[in-house]
Structures are given as structure tokens and as C-alpha cells.
């Protein structure tokens, strides 16, 4: 029956043939260690074997035989031989297990069994049984393959299985059998073979006679082991007759705990209900057989038993009505427990939950270092770090215990060497202090400098979980430097993030070395910096690098604010340029050549910004800031992150000094500009009208491979887009650096030319699926237009700007595209999520071996050198080694 060897833990492993364990240390040693540290893992599971349980095995591993469907007696005590038998484990606190003597949570539970009055088929093996019945001789049990072919078959079949899998092997066996049994003749006896068919879900029919499970079992028993091997079964783990159940194992009560409702009533688990049904029908069947009841009644009960056993394994069999609660809700039986996202495997086994974690809203704090996280005091007092007491830190830790859980930095628990955990309270404080001695562990409050792992969902890449150092702060939000928003993809419109506190030295070391923010600067996706300045930090630096006339006072103020104290260079000058101030942050031997967004060169020579403006292309995140990439390469992560922090703060400080704001007035254009734009748009409309006229007259020439109507659409679309782009040119012509919206656009910190055009000139053509809007009524988009109207205004062209305000018709079109893009996002997220899951599952085992090859878990070579050259993307510059720069440096 049961398909999986559930015993994975060491204890149960002994009896159950298969879990192989490896003892790493000698028994004596482990016992000694066990005493001092309870959770020391000294054994490792080295393999798990799967097999089918034989009836013998089921009885052997059972500690109770279940004979009655009753659960509790009048006093509410579990009935002996009932489904909640005390020998099956404990679920009530305070009781001890009758079988192993352990308490609740210590006893993992024990199996029981039921002797079935008549055998029943295990649903999950129906297809195998059917194949076997069809492929074997009803009399002898031999595989129906002519002996001369049989010899060759095995090797051939094994090869098929290895290459194409189990399913193909079975097909091949079927084909061989079909060859040997031409014309339905048994190759051994020459008798005619009746066709075995299936009566779904669990019935077998030979010819027109129904085979009872007893007959099926008898046939399966006859099949010799050698033949099973050829068929593809391993007779040691899966004799086919075991697939017809004669005894049914009863899972331990710990697997199906009952819950006591508020009213004091007990509510049983779905599995217990189902097992109750099975036991009840089984008893009735026994009684009826013993009483010599008519065959029909027995048959009916037998079928009912089959139904209950089937639904016990799988309550979602296509041909059967699912077993339901009285309320009508289907029971969750074994299959449903294992399956799907919420099932045992994906939810409990592959997914883990932790203690020592926190979650709240996040907010920005540029004064935190990039690798810091601001933790509210309330949280810091709940989360703790275990510190082992030794001779040297005894006094230090005593102070924490002294302060207790209420006062900050205090301690919440003291753990004795035997593993007993004691909560510190006002009352127990003195006793705990007395008791404290080396070997004890104090769980003290979280403090500045502790290691924490910070995470924001969806955790799409490894930079979604990074290690930060704790800074305990007042307030109620978790805080982070805005420069690390990029890798987390976080903003502060109500986002929440999670914090985890590693509890062992190993995990802390690993987190610090492998996961700290510094180490994640360069994305393994494209080999450039993911972390970089955002928003104001970019704008500020952009403006600063354009500013020529700072007073020394201003410069000193700025530099002091970002932590530069050596101000001698600045002192004494009359005027200082922003470039000089920016250069103060750079290492003195730093050289950089790049381009700004406007395409002008940016040159840094010997740590001095000589030419150009600083913008996203130099200091931005998400693969834009090339200056950052170079800094990282030359000065390493720690220094880069420090400089980046200073650069970001310099930008922000400069904006605070000079003032920076944007408002609706930034979208104002001079009269001259609006006139030009009006002319442009007017011209475009005229051109489109002309195109339409040509089309209606039939003088429009079609593009090759397109119809005239399609050509017209394309031409109109092209013309209107051109018009909008021309508007952009006009805007560019008229806006100055005084316009802060434009400054943000030029520096690359926020906004684009399109958004400026849309706000101040013309929203432009709304497109659905790459076409102008043509949906709605027949022949027209809205009822206020004439049928067949092809004019821009009736097909979703928004002439007005957002500042000027759009009219109702335009608003309608705007809403259409807006909705369409919402739909797109809503549909895309689950699709890409599933793709990601599949990729991650397929590729998760691939790793680089010591020889440089990439192999999967079974050692199969996937690549001889990772990426053909063995280069780690996160150590490359955009995937390359920059030969050009090396040449230039020489």
C-alpha cells in the first residue's frame, strides 16, 4: 500500500528496512555532546529509499491493531483499538506515549493497522496492475513474451528506460507482448487470451467477467521476480500483490491531531473521519461474511469499502464522487495533503519558517550607511542574539540580565547548558543572575552592529536578501538608505520589509561574508552596479557639477556634512567649483572616462573631475553608473560603498543648500512655444486629413504586402508620432536649466522627455495592441463620432496636454489605454512567476565543480567552462574583461 517510505528520521529508520544513516561520530562522543548541547546534529541522512509496503511490513511497523470505529469512551478517554488509541502517539499535553514513553512533541507517533475483511485495490497503482494483468499469463504468471525474445529483452528495455524513462519502457513491454501474442494467442499454452480491461476507477474485467481483487491478487502473486524485473518493477521493493491491500496502515495520531473547540467539543481531522468510515464498513463486512450473508450484500459492502479506501488515498478521482463533510465540503485526504502549493512538499518541506524575524513598514534615511538597517527599539527588544557566557564576558552579560526584558539593552532569556530556557522577569532576574556561569547562553536584545538579513518580497534575485548591520533607532519603521532601494525594488509608499536575525556564529559569518550589501554591489545579471544614487542624490550631483561659483563657506558646509574633515584644500580660495567639491570625495589616483547622458565626455583625472557633468550614467544604479563600477574594480567594495554614500549625501546636501522644488509651473511653456506646438499639431492634422482623403479617393498607394487600409493606418500613426516628437524638440528648445522638471529629466533622476511632452504639449496617440483605437461601436469608437471616421481625434489621438486638460472624448481614450496596461501587468505577473519557478527548479542543481566544469546533481557535464570562458559575471564589467582600458593604461 503506502507508497512512500515515510520514515526519514533516524529513530523510525531502524525497523523500516531502508533509511541508511551515517554516524559521523562515536556514540560516546555524541552522548557527551548531547548533554551539553541538545540541538547538535550528529547524524545525517545520506539517502532515502522508496518502496511499496508489504502486508508483513505494515504489521511489523504497527504498534496497534485497530478494530473499532469508536474514538472515545464516555469519559472522553481514547478507546483501546480505536482510531485514537493511545499507542499511536500522544496529542494531549501531559500524557505519555504508551508505546515509547515519550511526551508530547517528543514522540513522533506510531503506525497502527487494520485487517481488511476483503482485499481492495490501491487506486494509485491501478494502471500498473492493469498493465501487469495484460502482460502476464493468467495461469502461470509468466510475462507473455516468447522465451527466445525474453533473453534479449531485458538489456534492450533497460536502455530504453535509461534514455526515455519509465513510461517508454512500459510501452516497449506492451509492444513486445503484442508481438508475442499475435491473434490473442497465449505463446505458452496456445489458449485464447481474454482481453483485460478496466472499469474505472478500480475494477478489472476480463472478457466480460469481473475480476475480484482476490483473483487479481492471486494472479499477481504468481508473477515470478525475474519477470517483474523485465517489466520494470523492483520485486524487492514493489511486489505487485502488495498493491492489492489486505491490511491498511493507520497513520499515527500526530499526523491527524484532533482539535478541541471552544465549546469543549472535539473536532476530528479529515483523515480520522475517513479512517472511521473504513473501519466501520470493514467491521460490517466481517460480520456479514461471518453471518453468511448473501453474496450481493457482501459485494455491495466490499465495493463500499473499496470506495472508502480509494478516497482515503485520493479524494479527487475522476469517476468517483468525492467524500464530503456533513457541511458538503470535500474531505482533504492523503493526496490532497501532499499535492500543490499548499501541500506538504512545497509548503512544509521545501518552504521553511523562522523565528527571530520582524516585519514593518519601511522608510528612508540617507544618514544610515548603505549597509545599515534602522531597527525600531520595540523590535530590538523582542529580537535577540544568543551570547554564550564565558569568563571574559560574564560581567558584561550580567548587566543585560540585570536590565531584564523591559529596559533597553537588556535580555529576554537565559538558556542553561542542558537546554532549559528561562524567561527573565522581575521575579526571576535575581535567580538568573545568581545562576549565570560559563556555558550559559544569554539571549540579549538586538544592538547596534549586530548582523541582520533584510528582505523584500518578491525575492526575485539574490540582492533581494542582503545582510545589513543593525542600528537601533526610535520610531516604528524599519529604515534603509535610499541608495539600496534599487536591489530591493522598494519604495516608501507603504512597502513592508522583513528582518531576520541569524542565531549562530556560522550563519552570522556566512551572512556577513557572502550577503553583506558591499558584496552585492555588482549584479550577477549584467556585471554592473545595481546599487547607486537615486532621485535627489543624482539631481544634486548633477547641479553641483555644473555649478562654478560656490563660496568656500558653502563648499566646507557641504563637505563637512558628508564627513570630509580635511578642508584645507578648500580654504583660502575665493570661488570653488562644484566639480572641485565633488572631486574631494574621489580617491586621488582615480581616472575615469565616460559620457554623460547628453553624450558629452566626462573626464576624471587623478581624482579630479575635469570635464563634464555627473548624472545617472556615472553614479546611477541598475547598471547605469559606470563610475561606480570602476571604483568598485579599483578600490574594492568597502571603499566604493563609502564613497557612494558620500556622493549620495553630497547631492542631497547640495539640494538642501541651493533649494530644489518642482511644481505645475515647470510645465508652463512660453507663448511662442505653445504657438509653435499648435502649428505643428495643426499641420499634422492637416496631413492626416490629406492621407484620409487620398485613401477615400483611392489614390493612396499600398505598401508591399499590406492592404491600402493598413497602409493608411501605418502612415497616420507615423505622422502623429512624428508630430509628438517634434513637440519634444520645441520643448527642448525652450526649457532651460531653471526648469526643475527639466533638470530631473536631464540628470536622469526622474521623468523623461515623453512625460514632459505629455504634460506640457500633447499627450499624443493612444495605442492598443500597436494600433490606433478602433474598438467600441461598429465602425466608430464612441457614439459621438460618425461611422467610418478615421480622423485622429476619433481614433484616440489626444491633442491637449495634461496641464491644459483633456476633453471627455480624450479622457475616454486615455482611460482605455490605462486599463489595458493594468490588464497587461495583471496577466504578466503570474506568467512570468511560473516561468521563473520552472527555471529555478530546472537549474537549481547546476554548480561549478572544482575542475571548472558546470555539472548537474548527477554529475552530468552541462558546460566545460562556465559561459565558455569561466568568467563570473559579477566580477566582469558588463560581462567582459576591459582590454581596451588595460591597453590605455599601459
Amino acid at each position: 500500500m503506502a507508497k512512500k517510505n515515510e520514515a526519514v528520521e533516524e529513530k523510525t529508520a531502524e525497523g523500516v528496512q531502508e533509511v541508511v544513516e551515517r554516524t559521523v561520530d562515536k556514540e560516546q562522543f555524541s552522548r557527551e555532546r548531547m548533554e551539553s548541547m541538545t540541538h547538535y546534529v550528529y547524524k545525517q541522512v545520506s539517502s532515502v529509499v522508496f518502496g511499496v509496503l508489504s502486508p508483513k511490513m505494515i504489521k511489523k511497523m504497527a504498534s496497534a491493531k485497530i478494530v473499532t470505529p469508536e474514538l472515545y469512551d464516555k469519559e472522553g478517554y481514547p478507546v483501546d483499538g480505536g482510531l485514537m488509541d493511545v499507542r499511536l502517539g500522544v496529542i494531549d499535553p501531559g500524557l505519555r506515549c504508551k508505546t515509547c514513553g515519550a511526551k508530547l512533541k517528543e514522540c513522533i507517533g506510531h503506525f497502527g493497522y487494520i485487517e481488511l475483511a476483503r482485499p481492495v485495490v490501491h487506486v494509485k497503482f491501478v494502471s500498473v496492475i492493469l498493465d501487469l494483468l495484460r502482460a502476464t499469463c493468467p495461469e502461470t504468471g509468466r510475462l507473455l513474451i516468447a522465451p527466445e525474445k525474453l533473453a534479449k529483452a531485458k538489456g534492450h528495455l533497460d536502455k530504453i528506460e535509461e534514455e526515455e524513462g519509465q513510461a517508454e519502457r512500459r510501452k516497449a513491454v506492451k509492444a513486445l507482448v503484442a508481438q508475442s501474442c499475435r491473434g490473442g494467442k497465449n505463446p505458452f499454452t496456445g489458449n485464447k487470451l481474454e482481453k483485460v480491461s478496466i472499469e474505472k476507477p478500480t475494477g478489472f474485467v476480463e472478457g466480460d467477467r469481473r475480476l475480484s481483487p482476490i483473483e487479481v491478487r492471486a494472479r499477481l502473486e504468481k508473477i515470478p521476480d525475474e519477470d517483474l524485473e523485465i517489466f520494470g518493477l523492483n520485486p524487492n521493493t514493489a511486489r505487485p500483490e502488495w498493491m492489492i491491500l489486505t491490511v491498511l496502515p493507520i497513520p499515527p495520531v500526530t499526523v491527524r491531531p484532533s482539535i478541541t473547540l471552544e465549546s469543549g467539543e472535539r473536532s476530528e481531522d479529515d483523515l480520522t473521519h475517513k479512517l472511521g468510515d473504513i473501519v466501520r464498513i470493514n467491521q460490517r463486512l466481517f460480520e456479514n461474511i461471518n453471518a453468511g450473508a448473501p453474496e450481493i450484500i457482501i459485494e455491495d459492502l466490499w465495493d463500499l469499502l473499496q470506495y472508502h479506501v480509494t478516497t482515503f488515498f485520493d479524494n479527487d478521482v475522476a469517476q468517483l464522487p468525492p467524500a464530503r463533510h456533513r457541511s458538503g465540503q470535500p474531505l482533504k485526504t492523503i493526496s490532497e495533503r501532499i499535492k500543490s502549493k499548499e501541500g506538504r512538499i512545497r509548503h512544509n518541506l521545501a518552504g521553511k519558517r523562522t523565528n527571530f524575524c520582524a516585519r514593518t513598514v519601511i522608510s528612508p534615511d540617507p544618514y544610515l550607511a548603505l549597509d545599515e538597517v534602522g531597527v525600531p527599539k520595540i523590535i530590538a527588544m523582542k529580537l535577540s542574539v544568543p551570547e554564550t557566557v564565558n569568563d571574559w564576558n560574564m560581567e558584561y552579560l550580567k548587566k543585560f540580565v540585570q536590565r531584564g526584558p523591559q529596559e533597553y539593552p537588556g535580555a529576554n532569556y537565559v538558556v542553561r547548558p542542558d537546554g532549559k530556557k528561562k524567561r527573565i522577569t522581575e521575579e526571576t532576574k535575581e535567580a538568573a543572575l545568581e545562576e549565570l556561569q560559563p556555558g550559559y547562553v544569554v539571549e540579549r536584545h538586538l544592538m547596534d552592529g549586530d548582523i541582520a538579513i533584510f528582505n523584500r518580497q518578491p525575492s526575485l534575485h539574490r540582492m533581494s536578501m542582503m545582510c545589513h548591520r543593525v542600528r537601533v533607532l526610535p520610531g516604528r519603521t524599519l529604515r534603509l538608505n535610499p541608495a539600496v532601494c534599487n536591489p530591493y525594488n522598494a519604495d516608501f509608499d507603504g512597502d513592508e520589509m522583513n528582518l531576520h536575525i541569524p542565531q549562530t556564529e556560522e550563519s552570522r559569518a556566512e551572512a556577513e561574508i557572502l550577503m553583506q550589501v558591499q558584496t552585492q554591489l555588482i549584479s550577477p545579471r549584467y556585471g554592473l552596479s545595481v546599487i547607486g544614487c537615486i532621485h535627489d542624490a543624482i539631481t544634486g550631483n548633477y547641479l553641483l557639477s555644473k555649478k562654478d561659483d560656490l563660496t568656500p563657506q558653502q563648499a566646507m558646509l557641504l563637505l563637512a556634512a558628508v564627513g570630509i574633515t580635511d578642508l584645507l584644500k578648500v580654504a583660502g580660495k575665493k570661488k570653488i567649483s562644484g566639480k572641485e567639491v565633488f572631486s574631494m570625495l574621489l580617491p586621488e589616483d582615480f581616472n575615469y572616462k565616460g559620457v554623460s547622458r547628453s553624450g558629452d565626455p566626462v573626464v576624471i583625472k587623478d581624482g579630479k573631475l575635469i570635464e563634464g557633468t555627473v548624472d545617472t550614467k556615472a553614479i546611477g544604479g541598475e547598471g547605469e553608473g559606470r563610475l561606480l563600477r570602476l571604483l568598485h574594480k579599483q578600490y574594492g567594495p568597502a571603499r566604493t560603498i563609502k564613497i557612494l554614500h558620500q556622493i549620495a549625501n553630497l547631492g542631497i546636501e547640495y539640494l538642501m543648500l541651493s533649494g530644489f522644488t518642482t511644481g505645475i509651473a515647470d510645465e508652463d511653456l512660453p507663448k511662442e512655444a505653445t504657438n509653435q506646438i499648435d502649428d505643428l499639431l495643426h499641420k499634422a492634422e492637416e496631413d492626416v486629413a490629406l492621407l484620409i482623403k487620398q485613401f477615400k479617393e483611392g489614390s493612396l498607394e499600398a505598401f508591399p504586402g499590406r492592404s491600402v487600409a493598413e497602409t493608411l493606418e501605418m502612415k497616420i500613426l507615423e505622422r502623429l508620432n512624428k508630430a509628438r516628437n517634434e513637440c519634444g524638440k520645441v520643448i527642448r528648445q525652450f526649457i532651460t536649466d531653471k526648469n526643475n522638471a527639466a533638470v530631473m529629466m536631464f540628470s536622469g533622476s526622474r521623468g523623461s522627455i515623453t512625460s514632459l511632452i505629455q504634460m506640457s504639449a500633447c499627450v499624443g496617440q493612444q495605442a492598443l495592441r500597436g494600433k490606433r483605437i478602433d474598438k467600441g461601436y461598429s465602425g466608430r469608437t464612441l457614439s459621438c463620432f460618425k461611422k467610418g471616421d478615421l480622423s485622429p481625434e476619433s481614433r484616440g489621438f489626444i491633442l491637449n496636454s495634461l496641464k491644459k486638460g483633456i476633453n471627455p472624448k480624450e479622457f475616454f481614450f486615455f482611460a482605455m489605454t490605462g486599463r489595458d496596461s493594468l490588464m497587461d501587468t495583471a496577466l504578466r505577473t503570474p506568467k512570468s512567476g511560473y516561468l521563473y519557478r520552472r527555471l529555478a527548479n530546472a537549474l537549481q542543481d547546476l554548480k561549478v565543480e572544482y575542475d571548472g566544469t558546470v555539472r548537474d546533481a548527477s554529475g552530468r557535464i552541462i558546460q566545460f567552462a562556465y559561459g565558455e570562458d569561466g568568467v563570473d559575471v559579477s566580477r566582469s564589467e558588463n560581462g567582459k574583461i576591459d582590454v581596451k582600458r588595460i591597453v590605455e593604461l599601459e
Binding site: 507508497k3 512512500k4 559521523v24 561520530d25 562522543f29 545525517q44 541522512v45 539517502s47 532515502v48 529509499v49 522508496f50 518502496g51 511499496v52 519509465q166 520494470g232 518493477l233 514493489a238 512538499i345 512545497r346 521545501a350 521553511k352 526575485l460 534575485h461 557572502l514 545579471r525 556585471g527 508591399p704 504586402g705 501605418m714 495592441r769 500597436g770 497587461d824 504578466r828 512570468s832 516561468l835 520552472r838 527555471l839 529555478a840 527548479n841 530546472a842 537549474l843 537549481q844 542543481d845 547546476l846 554548480k847 561549478v848 571548472g852 558546470v854 546533481a857 558546460q863 559561459g867 569561466g870 568568467v871 563570473d872 566580477r875 574583461i881 582590454v883 588595460i886 591597453v887 599601459e890
Partner: protein
């Protein structure tokens, strides 16, 4: 062959880097620069134990959320509809046998690619059916025959002869005998169908319209396009093998986007490259930056077995040795049942199984298996 000064680096540096050095560095400094490059190259090499698979999965999965779902796109004025964006990525990674919009880019040999008669050449590639070349179908109810009048001009255009068409119809249309006189084909129902009479005749007429007569099967649309200095033909529908049989096609550069077709025609290495190219093309047009190495790794995993295996439960995942790893992906019960039949042993060699058992997996910091002996 690389420069003699670089000879000693030949087995230490990848060829691409060597070529780059030779190209960029002054001849006198070759050695010195190569040494520097080698230094940087060694520093950039990947560590053993690195979970490159997962990093690649992240690198492709993460930008997936930023891709558009747009199924179709019009690149410029005169190009074909092609599936792009996320759906195309999914299509490629699934390893689907039939793709939504198969298409080819046919490059032409020298005299043909100048643009002269390009539309005629394109038409010769397109699949032509009887309906396309026929002027009219007339039913002769009395004799139960159909007269198909062929249009001489179109027939010439597709580079066919009347005889050819007659033969093709005879071959492609069952239950009918074909007779030709001039530009008229007479289709006569074979006797056994005569009993069914008129209905059958009408049915045959409809069928006759779709009978293949000339061109490349599967190519439903052709479009001549100017690429840089030459003309190429873009097609909807793909049949590389037949296209290669045409004498004016430049077989060296002509490509299709159907990966399975490439695999059948050129083998698995070409298919691998096709997967890389196709994936990269999509990611690039979406304006995303993903390193080619990640795409290579995915392509290599899909093709490592010599067949194209999709990133699905029937493909790559089903190949895994570990029962638990397979079960944790999809259809866990099926996997566990089949494992029990064979008595499979899960050696716990990969990641998820060890996560399930709360043990360290053989990856990254879990890779070195050190056991310290304790002093007695």
C-alpha cells in the same frame, strides 16, 4: 593563429580575449598587456561551488516581470508579425514543437539580392495552391467534373508550368483523375465517389482550392525587405529544408526561428546556438540587460542530452535523478508512486532534498565536506 608573443597565453586566455589584445594593443607591448589581461581574467574567474544555475534562473526570471506581454509587434513599417516579449521567451524555454509565428529570413545569392525582380523571387518561395493560380472553377454537373481554368500570368509568376500543376493536383487531390487541355484542368471524380454525386463534387471543389501546386510548403506569406545594402525575403511560416533546395538562396545566412527545425537540419549544437540567439534577441528588443552567459547555460541545459528538452515537468525536470527534487516541482504523487515501483534511491545529491531534510546541500559553502577528527 595568434601572434607569436601571445603563444604562451594560448591555453590560458580565451581566444576572444587574445584576438582583442592583438587588435587593440601595440605590437611591442603585446606580452605585457597580455600578462595584465591574464591577471584580470584570473581574478574574474568563477569560484567552485557557485550556484550558477540559480543565478541564471534569477537573471532571466527577474527581468521577466518587466517584459511586456505584447504578443505582436511591428518593427518598422514593413515587417511581419512576430511573437515577442514574454510569450516568446516562454515558447522557447518550453521547447515547443510548433511555435506561434514561425518565420524565416531568407538571404539571397549575389545577383538576386540586388532588388531586381525581388517580388517575383519572393513569390516563388511562397506556397501556392490551386486556388491562387486558377481563374475560375466551373462545375459540370452532368459529367460530374470540374473545369479549372488556370491564369497564365499567375502561373508564370510563380514559375510553374501547366503540366507541373496538373501533376501536383493529381498527387495532392485524392479520389480524382486529372486531365489537361491547354490551360484547363478537368477533374473527374473516380467512379466509387460518383454515387455520392453533387455533394461530393462541391466538396472536391473546395478541397481543390487548397491543393499545393508550387513553392515552399508552409510559407504562407512573403515580404521582400531591404536590409542594409541588400534585399532579403522575410516569410511567415518556416520550411528551411525546402528553401535550401532553391538555387537563389544563400544557405549560409538564411535562418528560421523554429528551433526544432534547426535541430533536425543541423543538429543539436546549431539548435543550442539558435536558442541563445532567439532568447537574446527578445531580451535585447525589450531593452533589458542580461548577460549572454546566463542564456548559454539555459540553452546548454536544454540541449545537453542531444535532444531539445523544455524547461517543463516533461523536459529538463523529468531528467533529474532525485525523486524528491522532481516531486517538489510538479505532480509529486506521480513521481513518488513511480519511484516506489522501481525502489528508487534518492542519494540527496542536490539542493531541495537537503532543504527538505534540514541538511546542508552540496553547493557553495556546503560543498566542502570536511569532517574533523576529534582528539581522544
Amino acid at each position: 593563429m595568434v601572434h607569436k608573443d601571445l603563444a604562451e597565453f594560448e591555453d590560458k586566455l580565451p581566444l576572444k580575449l587574445l584576438q582583442e589584445i592583438e587588435e587593440l594593443a601595440p605590437a611591442a607591448k603585446l606580452k605585457k598587456i597580455a600578462k595584465k589581461v591574464l591577471e584580470e581574467y584570473e581574478a574574474a574567474k568563477i569560484d567552485a561551488g557557485e550556484a550558477v544555475g540559480l543565478v541564471s534562473a534569477e537573471s532571466i526570471g527577474e527581468p521577466g516581470t518587466q517584459m511586456t506581454l505584447n504578443t505582436f509587434h511591428f518593427a518598422g513599417v514593413a515587417e511581419m508579425n512576430v511573437t515577442m516579449g514574454l510569450p516568446r521567451i516562454i515558447e522557447i524555454l518550453d521547447g515547443r514543437k510548433s511555435i506561434k509565428t514561425p518565420n524565416m529570413e531568407i538571404y539571397l545569392k549575389s545577383p538576386y539580392n540586388k532588388g531586381k525582380d525581388i517580388r517575383e523571387i519572393a513569390l516563388r518561395v511562397k506556397e501556392t495552391s490551386l486556388g491562387d493560380v486558377a481563374k475560375e472553377f466551373s462545375l459540370n454537373i452532368g459529367d460530374l467534373t470540374i473545369d479549372v481554368v488556370l491564369d497564365e500570368a499567375t502561373v508564370k509568376l510563380v514559375d510553374a508550368t501547366f503540366d507541373e500543376i496538373a501533376k501536383a493536383v493529381e498527387k495532392g487531390l485524392t479520389g480524382v483523375s486529372v486531365k489537361r487541355s491547354g490551360n484547363v484542368l478537368t477533374l473527374k471524380l473516380k467512379e466509387k465517389d460518383e454515387t455520392k454525386g453533387l455533394n461530393e463534387l462541391y466538396r472536391v471543389k473546395e478541397r481543390a482550392k487548397d491543393v499545393y501546386v508550387k513553392g515552399v510548403k508552409g510559407v504562407t506569406q512573403v515580404l521582400p525587405v531591404k536590409r542594409q545594402e541588400e534585399f532579403i525575403i522575410i516569410t511567415a511560416g518556416s520550411n528551411l529544408k525546402k528553401v535550401f533546395e532553391l538555387d537563389f538562396v544563400d544557405t549560409d545566412r538564411t535562418v528560421t526561428n523554429d528551433i526544432h527545425e534547426i535541430r533536425d537540419l543541423f543538429g543539436i549544437e546549431a539548435a543550442r546556438q539558435a536558442i541563445i540567439d532567439e532568447l537574446f534577441k527578445v531580451i535585447e528588443t525589450q531593452g533589458l540587460n542580461v548577460d549572454i552567459r546566463h542564456i548559454m547555460l539555459v540553452a546548454d541545459t536544454m540541449t545537453a542530452g542531444g535532444e531539445i528538452k523544455g524547461i517543463t515537468r516533461y523536459g529538463v525536470v523529468s531528467e533529474k535523478a532525485s525523486v524528491l527534487a522532481r516531486a517538489s516541482f510538479e505532480t509529486p504523487i506521480k513521481h513518488v508512486i513511480n519511484a516506489s515501483l522501481k525502489g528508487e534511491v534518492d542519494k540527496l545529491n542536490s539542493v531541495v532534498e537537503n532543504v527538505m531534510l534540514n541538511q546542508t546541500g552540496p553547493l557553495g559553502t556546503g560543498l566542502p565536506r570536511l569532517v574533523a577528527k576529534r582528539e581522544e
